[in-house]
């Protein structure tokens, strides 16, 4: 039957787009084109403020028009028609082109930021407004990132407008991106404070627990660069969150309180990444690779942090080159290549959460708590599963949800970020994300679709 895959590739019907929708796509395209031209030419075209206003207006207008035609003019409900027919969402030409563009942007951002001069100039007025500093490549990146989350967040919310869990979750994740990862850091910068992110903690933000000093960025630098002595409080908050906030909140709500409600990486994945969620690998071998990989990264960041502290106590006498070697390798391999270039650049190829699934050390810790001690689980509704596979297909974390649901077993997986899409796409109302402490240690014991137990009939 493998040859019959052609079924899903041959879509004889053109994707129907209305005139307004084409207009919306055109507006978005012009907006992106202006950014690309600015990037390529190396300087802002005309007055940066005017150009920036045009770029954003076109993007916003285009998104609204597209969403209106794509979702709002149709009955509420699941909108996955043609996900595996479209080149953009099923690794066709469009997908690969977008992948190369995003990956290229990350490579330039990390290693050749001088080539972003044009964009930096373009965003200068905005940077002066928000931070009272001239723009740099990271401000450009942060602004593009946040506006993408907001615009695609709107698209996502309208796509799932019948689902209040999705609406509230999307409101939360976009709020944290805008407030905690953009406005507050910008404001802090304006106040000449370190641009601290309240929504990231060690180990995802490994610098918040590294000693810091002359050789690498860390606690000492954050404290030293704070002109109002706020640095100590920031560090205190991040340590509190790393060691108390994370386990306590995960006990009550599962990993989702962070990964799909607060985290900025999660925010991008849930909004910009949503059209690509079906591309995650569901095979057992991918799961094995995932467990090996993500825990290796966790060990890596822990060892790096420990070495830096040991070195700091020994005043660099013994471990200087070793700990710095670890630190630099981590920053390059994990901080840049994995989380940025692969994690986001490869959205259209690997799906939206490959960093969260295979790399993020924060996700690894949250996952351990979720599996070992949490009230959270996805409940399977008795024997109602029809093994259709929508849940597994649309799981961005590549969890084979169906393999549990068809046995009537509740789902507790360390990688589950609680996005709730499995529950949304289930055509038979089988899955529910929920919390209870009553059966916390036996959450997955029962198999309800099993019919017979010990020779007696268990109904169902």
């Amino acid at each position: 039957m493998q040859t019959e895959q052609s079924l899903s590739l041959a879509n004889p019907n053109p994707i129907h787009t209305s005139g307004l929708q084409k207009l919306g796509l055109a507006a978005i395209s012009i907006s992106v084109l202006l950014l690309l031209v600015t990037w390529a030419s190396g300087h802002a075209l005309g007055n940066p403020s005017v150009m920036l206003a045009i770029v954003f207006s076109l993007a916003i207008l285009g998104t609204f028009l597209y969403v209106r035609e794509e979702y709002l003019n149709k009955p509420e409900g699941i909108k996955n028609n043609g996900a595996f027919f479209k080149s953009l969402t099923y690794r066709g030409l469009g997908g690969w082109m977008l992948g190369v563009l995003l990956t290229g942007f990350y490579v330039i951002l990390y290693w050749f930021p001088d080539n972003l001069k044009g964009l930096v100039q373009l965003f200068d007025p905005l940077s002066m407004f928000f931070t009272n500093h001239v723009a740099d490549s990271w401000f450009v990146y942060g602004t593009l990132y946040t506006s993408s989350v907001l615009l695609m967040g709107y698209k996502f919310a309208m796509k799932y407008r019948h689902n209040r869990y999705q609406l509230i979750r999307t409101a939360s994740v976009t709020f944290f991106q805008l407030g905690f990862s953009f406005l507050i850091p910008s404001f802090l910068k304006m106040m000449n404070e370190p641009d601290y992110y309240f929504s990231y903690f060690w180990p995802l933000k490994d610098t918040y627990l590294k000693p810091g000093g002359d050789t690498h960025w860390g606690i000492k630098n954050i404290v030293a660069s704070s002109s109002h002595n706020l640095g100590m409080y920031f560090i205190g908050f991040s340590i509190l969150m790393s060691f108390i906030g994370v386990p306590v909140l995960t006990y009550f709500f599962g990993k989702r309180w962070y990964c799909s409600w607060v985290c900025g990486c999660g925010g991008l994945a849930e909004t910009v990444g949503d059209p690509f969620r079906q591309l995650s690998d569901k095979s057992l071998s991918a799961w094995k690779f995932e467990r090996w990989m993500i825990h290796s990264v966790l060990v890596f960041v822990t060892v790096t942090t420990a070495l830096l502290w040991a070195n700091s106590y020994m005043q660099g006498a013994l471990l200087g080159s070793l700990s710095m070697g670890f630190s630099k390798t981590y920053a390059f391999l994990i901080g840049s290549v994995f989380s940025g270039v692969i994690g986001t650049g490869f959205y259209p190829i690997l799906g939206s959460r490959s960093w969260c699934r295979f790399g993020c050390p924060q996700a690894a810790i949250l996952g351990i708590f979720q599996r070992k001690k949490s009230k959270f689980r996805i409940t399977t509704n008795g024997g109602q599963c029809i093994s259709c596979g929508n849940c597994s297909t649309y799981c961005e974390m590549g969890i084979d949800v169906r393999s549990y649901a068809q046995q009537g077993q509740d789902i507790v997986r360390s990688s589950c970020v609680g996005c709730g899409i499995c529950s949304a796409v289930c055509p038979r109302g089988v899955l529910r994300l929920e919390n209870s402490d009553l059966d916390i240690d036996t959450r997955t014991d029962e198999k309800r679709a099993i019919h017979i137990t010990d020779g007696k009939f268990e109904v169902m």
Binding site: A10, L433, S436, R448
Partner: protein, 453 residues
């Protein structure tokens, strides 16, 4: 022991899996003409609609079968010699004899055809087998209109499939209202409205007269309705029900009627031959159950049951309290217990419908005992186990209503409508009941496990 299973649908595969779970040594062979690997039949529509690929509707990865030592044989069973316990099988390149110790027949259904003129033309297909999906795909290119005949679960799926590819659909429903032999009038009317909202050309009380091949190329190009109206179309979907797929065992020693006749142990008239799933006709069905129940869930339960029986842990097939589910375009449907299109004389029913006309709750109860008998849900999800326990215990309607939140299975933050149906009861019976329990897992666990504190 060598067990041969004919058919790799949910019934046959469940039997194979349980045989392996319960016994490490039994030799298991699953024979199927339809496809190499087990797939979810109910999910065929999603492949056509581009929600999933063909491999996504296969619940097990290809290595699963080797690992569990379940041999898959692609071929067609031509005949069975029950006395010699041997089958004649043709595969793509050979014909061979295959012997067994125990045989499970799980050949499923085939789409009904009622002798219409033109029913065997190219472009006239049901939707049951993988090959039906392929036929739909083959005929999609350049298709200007599809006519779907039959207002049931498969009909509305087929109509939705074409609609997803922007192909206009005419949907012929013989009855006055969609699926009204199963759905009570209000729910049925809801689905009529929803079908029209999606822009299908819904023709109620309309039947197919004949299918035409006007240009004589062997392909359907129009239908004539019984009303005389002619509709041009390039595809005719015949979704007027299914019946057991048992032609290959007709006129043998095996007792068949509409389906393969089995007793309560799923044993056929021939020793060591069992039958499960859609192809079965149960000789003495349990009260309130039909002899042929061609649904996913019964196939799965029979598959598990027969594995026990074959391994000498003989057990009666007992499907328990009826449940089923479907999705009509965007409206999910769940049913638990006894909900009938025509309210029986001994039952009362409570019905609440949301102002948007897309959500409804129905609870029926016995007039005399006041015990609850069934739940019908449209656009709202209820917990299977909770509803089942109430029905099994014949819990009085007033107790059920006051604790109705226990059953709610909608996602977090969704509006809860249990109070609305309590008010329907209060208004109807001039009572003043209050909803005591809201939605929540802990309360449901306490209820199901009888934890009191």
């Amino acid at each position: 022991m060598k067990v041969a299973i004919i058919g790799n649908g949910i019934a046959g595969i469940t039997a194979a899996r349980w045989l392996r779970k319960l016994d490490d040594n039994v030799e298991i062979t699953v024979i199927s003409e339809e496809g190499e690997y087990f797939f979810s039949r109910t999910a065929l529509m999603y492949v056509y609609m581009g929600h999933m690929r063909q491999q996504d509707i296969q619940p097990y990865e290809p290595w699963f079968w080797d690992k569990n030592r379940i041999q898959l044989l692609r071929g067609r069973v031509q005949s069975i010699d029950f006395a010699k316990k041997s089958m004649q099988i043709t595969t793509a390149d050979t014909a061979k004899l295959f012997s067994y110790d125990k045989l499970i027949i799980a050949t499923g259904s085939k789409s009904n055809k009622f002798g219409w003129k033109g029913q065997d033309l190219d472009g006239v297909h049901g939707l049951y087998h993988y090959q039906d999906l392929e036929a739909m795909v083959r005929h999609t290119e350049g298709l200007q209109r599809a006519v779907v005949v039959g207002g049931g679960l498969i009909g509305i799926e087929m109509a939705e499939m074409f609609h997803s590819r922007h192909i206009p659909v005419t949907f012929l429903v013989r009855e006055k209202s969609f699926w009204n032999l199963i759905l009570p009038p209000e729910e049925s009317a809801m689905i009529n409205r929803h079908i029209i909202e999606h822009g299908f050309d819904l023709r109620l009380e309309n039947e197919l007269g004949e299918i035409l091949d006007e240009n004589g190329d062997g392909k359907a190009d129009a239908v004539i309705l019984k009303s005389g109206e002619k509709i041009n179309c390039g595809f005719v979907g015949l979704t007027v029900g299914v019946s057991p797929n048992i032609d290959f065992v007709k006129n043998t020693d095996l007792k068949v009627n509409r389906g393969v006749v089995v007793n309560e142990f799923l044993e056929t008239s021939v020793p060591d031959v069992y039958a499960i799933g859609d192809c079965v006709e149960i000789e003495k069905p349990q009260p309130g159950r039909r002899p042929i129940e061609a649904i996913w869930y019964t196939g799965r339960m029979m598959g598990e049951t027969v594995a026990y029986t074959i391994l000498n842990k003989k057990i009666k097939y007992n499907p328990g309290i009826w449940f089923n589910s479907a999705k009509f375009l965007d409206i999910e449907y769940q049913v638990y217990g006894d909900i009938q299109a025509q309210l029986p004389d001994n039952q009362s029913t409570l019905y609440w419908e949301h102002a948007d006309g897309k959500k409804a709750i129905r609870i029926s109860f016995d007039k005399n005992t006041e015990g609850v008998v069934g739940f019908n849900l449209m656009g709202i999800r209820y917990r299977h186990e909770v509803c089942e326990k109430w029905i099994k215990d014949k819990t009085p309607i007033e107790t059920v209503l006051q604790n109705l939140g226990l059953a709610n299975f909608d996602p977090e933050f969704f509006t809860e409508y249990e109070n609305e149906i309590v008010q329907v009861y209060n208004k109807t019976f001039n009572k003043n009941l209050q909803l005591k329990t809201k939605r929540g897992l802990s309360a449901a666990i306490k209820f199901l496990k009888q934890i009191t504190h």
